[in-house]
Amino acid sequence: MTSFDDIVIGGGHNGLVAATVLAKAGRKVLVLEAEDETGGAARKHEFHPGFRVSSVAHVLNRLHPDVVKALELDRLGLTLEGRTMPTIALAPDAGPVVLRGAYGETVDGLSLSDAAGWAELRALLFRQVGVLKPLLARRAPDLEAMSLSEKLALGGVALSLRRLGKEGMRDFLRMLLMNVDDVTGEFVENDALRGLLAFDAVQGSHLGPRSPTSLIGLYFRLAGEIGGAEGGQMLPKGGMGAVIEAMHAAAERRGVTIRAKAPVSRILIEKGRAVGVVLADGEEIRARTVVSAINPRTTFADLVGPRELDTGFLRKILNVRMKGNVARLYLALDGVPSFAGVAADDHAGRLVIAPSSNAVENAFNPAKYGEFSPEPAMEIVLPSLSDPSLAPGGACVLSANVQFAPYALKGGWDKGKPKFLKAIVAQLERCAKGIGKTILASELLTPADIEARFRMPGGHWHHGELQPDQMLMSRPVFGAGGYDTPIDGLYLAGAGSHPGGGVSGVPGMNAARRVLAEK
């Protein structure tokens, strides 16, 4: 029997990254994935004969350059160059606003004064993001036991704060906890642009644009980069699944053993130390360390279990908010839809239905009370336009993230889902007349469906709300904020850890580095 140094639970992208970084350092690593294939929420599948989609995550906008480098993904068939795409803020009446380049370096469709306002706001946001970016890339500062390099890194943050200048620092501290609606209102008037910024800020979270601290979501978004474009985005050729294929190949190239259909049911703990795992079928596998790249609540409440945890710690874990709010929609269309006012080429971009900041706030309101948005906000892509292999000739795939769809719908999703789908199609129809008639097949996944199908508790984008109380050393909770946990030899490596979700690979990479540092 082979014995392993590290067992990585979960073959999502973060699990694959963690495993590869560990293996690269010479360790023997086993990845255990519950499903038939790796990838987690970054998988792809065929939802209708001939129509393939990225199953959950569909837009790539924050895969970290260090991860690309460490795994040499560019040499393993992942093309990042030349695929960045614009964002089109749809406005059926006034005409769309189009953000080109790295998150709107140039913009179409704005008045002169709004164009100036946007340039100013954009520059300001990116300056501030410059302070946050290192914090969102490294291990969160450990206030109790900071290593020298951590102190230096934190010092670096302080320095970059200083570099903002007196006024810049004042602006930053003023804005940091503001809501996105108030901030955009200070700079621009255009409804579609403010709607887009509002949408991007609250995407994946249980916040409306007027909720305090909602600006942080936009900072988080802009801290991502792709192909060197800050705030940029792309549809990988072959869908998100192509990223996973490259990562999977990187892991295997480094000698990682990957086992699918191997759901872990328990983490073995002896005298306070993780010593291995037990699979659902009872098989026991031992290793020096266990790295959990799945949801933190599942890790502790189910796999470790309350008995090995302190009451206070368990209390915190069970209080982590992770009820998803985003539904996933795939449509098989028998032709390419036409969105009003959008140039033919731009249909290959990211199309956002968020007519105004108020519209996003209004879409959020019912979600607070367990109801879906009657006029939902949406992020739409037509991946088959840039990758024809995803749909039969002449046909088209539409893939959308739809907000807001509360995890626990009043009256239940069984009854609510058909009604919600109708509301979504009506909303699409407003922006792309006639689209309804071209629908060959559709599939709508509510957060409850996402939870069940992808093993994401709550169906949450980030495996836990990404709000200030659940960020940095408090992510997922204080006491497990630095990838190491109260259980010796057990580490967290998934999106539920700092810095959070999205296909970035950062939690996985940092966790592996932590394991290596503690040798």
Binding site: G272, T311, G312, P486
Partner: protein
């Protein structure tokens, strides 16, 4: 009945005591009738006597007769279910698997930082049924601790009345009351006995370091139990007593009181006031072999790192003026701690004190310790610098406490 629940209203309902400012115990009618001093204080939300007739004589009732003390305000929880043992083991410091049915042990419990939440006694009433007695209320903590265990936790402070019967003739009183079989109880044993149409649970436990018992009964049977004991005890010198007398006896016995000799983790406002078990003399409870329990990691880590900052010690102070709340000095100059309880011990004939010191004082450095006593003498403080010596607790050790069968009179 409180299963592990997160509902705030359910938790609130389970803690009805919050509604009442000062409750009366089931024995209150009898205490009130005996109270010549009208000297009451508040014990955990209950009206309780400091003294009833004469605090000196009440103390001597403990040491030479039989003293009856109402312990109903003590917080009590029933813990029951197939996982009750596992639950208690995860909750508390000592190994509950070693606690046999019909036995009681003194224990303590901590939060995840290893800071003591409370100390108390755990009664194993049967294989899967326990009673936890302590100073502070803990229902939310116990319910959160019940997550993942098949166990029920019920607050029974109001519904169970308790009496401590302590002193050399206490066994004789119980025998005279017709409670046959009490003679078989060794220290820390418990058993149930018929009382009226129900039962009374009697344990050979107490807070005095003397021969003594604690009796628990359905609150509705409280007065009949009181009357039964008082009646039987008449020829054995039974006396009802208040807390002042009991407090002297417990200091002699070297017992500590939560929020008097140390600040519990949930009460402490200042970050440096919390205490680990090793810092209040309870380090012996920590069982690192028994499996996981709350605070284990933090406690072991603190030990490993030498991060324990305080120590609780017994002191013998020269002279006869009690050093209550006196500052402790090393070499008469350096402030190294505080006395939390002190009396002139009538039984030991020594001036004794319980103090918290900053390590290494009291731990490895025990020489040249002094206490500064401010004695108020007719509107002027007389400042006394007295030599103090670290001594073993208990200060008073009585053979009759543990003699089995117990002494009869």
């Amino acid at each position: 009945m409180a299963k592990a629940t997160k509902s705030t209203s359910a938790r609130r309902d389970a803690q009805a005591h919050i509604e009442m400012l000062r409750l009366e115990t089931p024995f209150h009618p009898r205490l009130e009738a005996l109270s010549q001093q009208n000297d009451w204080y508040t014990w955990a939300g209950y009206k309780a006597p400091l003294s009833l007739w004469d605090e000196e004589l009440e103390y001597f009732a403990i040491r030479s007769q039989a003293a009856l003390f109402d312990i109903s305000p003590m917080v009590k929880y029933r813990i029951e279910g197939p996982d009750a043992e596992a639950f208690c083991n995860r909750l508390t410091l000592r190994d509950v698997a070693k606690l046999k049915p019909g036995r009681v042990h003194y224990t303590a419990w901590c939060d995840e930082n290893g800071h003591v939440l409370d100390d108390g006694t755990l009664f194993r009433l049967s294989a899967d049924r326990f009673r936890l007695c302590c100073q502070e209320r803990h229902l939310p903590w116990l319910m959160d601790s019940a997550i993942g265990f098949d166990v029920e936790v019920e607050e029974e402070t109001e519904t169970i009345a308790g009496l401590a019967l302590q002193g050399p003739t206490s066994f004789a009183v119980l025998r005279a009351a017709g409670l046959d079989g009490v003679e078989r109880l060794k220290p820390f044993d418990l058993a149930t006995f018929p009382h009226k149409r129900g039962t009374v649970t009697i344990s050979r436990t107490g807070f005095t370091g003397d021969l003594g018992y604690e009796l628990f009964v359905d609150a509705r049977q409280a007065l009949s139990l009181w009357d039964r004991l008082m009646e039987a005890g008449r020829v054995h010198g039974i006396r009802a007593i208040g807390y002042t007398a009991l407090n002297r006896a417990r200091i002699e016995a070297g017992f500590i009181v939560a929020n008097a000799d140390f600040v519990t983790a949930e009460h402490a406002v200042r970050a440096d006031r919390v205490r680990m078990p090793d810092e209040i003399g309870l380090g012996w409870m920590v069982d690192r072999e028994k499996g996981h329990f709350n605070g284990r990691r933090a406690i072991l880590k603190a030990r490993e790192k030498g991060a324990l900052r305080h120590v609780l010690v017994g002191l013998e102070v020269e002279g006869n003026v009690p050093a209550e709340h006196a500052i402790v000095y090393h070499k008469g100059k350096r402030e190294v701690g505080l006395v939390s309880a002190a009396i002139w011990s009538p039984t030991a004939k020594r001036n004794i004190a319980i103090a918290s010191l900053d390590r290494p004082y009291g731990d490895t450095v025990t020489d040249d310790l002094w206490v500064e006593i401010y004695a108020m003498r007719e509107l002027r403080y007389v400042k006394l610098m007295k030599r103090a010596r670290v001594v073993e607790r208990p200060f008073v050790k009585l053979a009759r406490r543990s003699a089995t069968p117990p002494g009869d009179f």
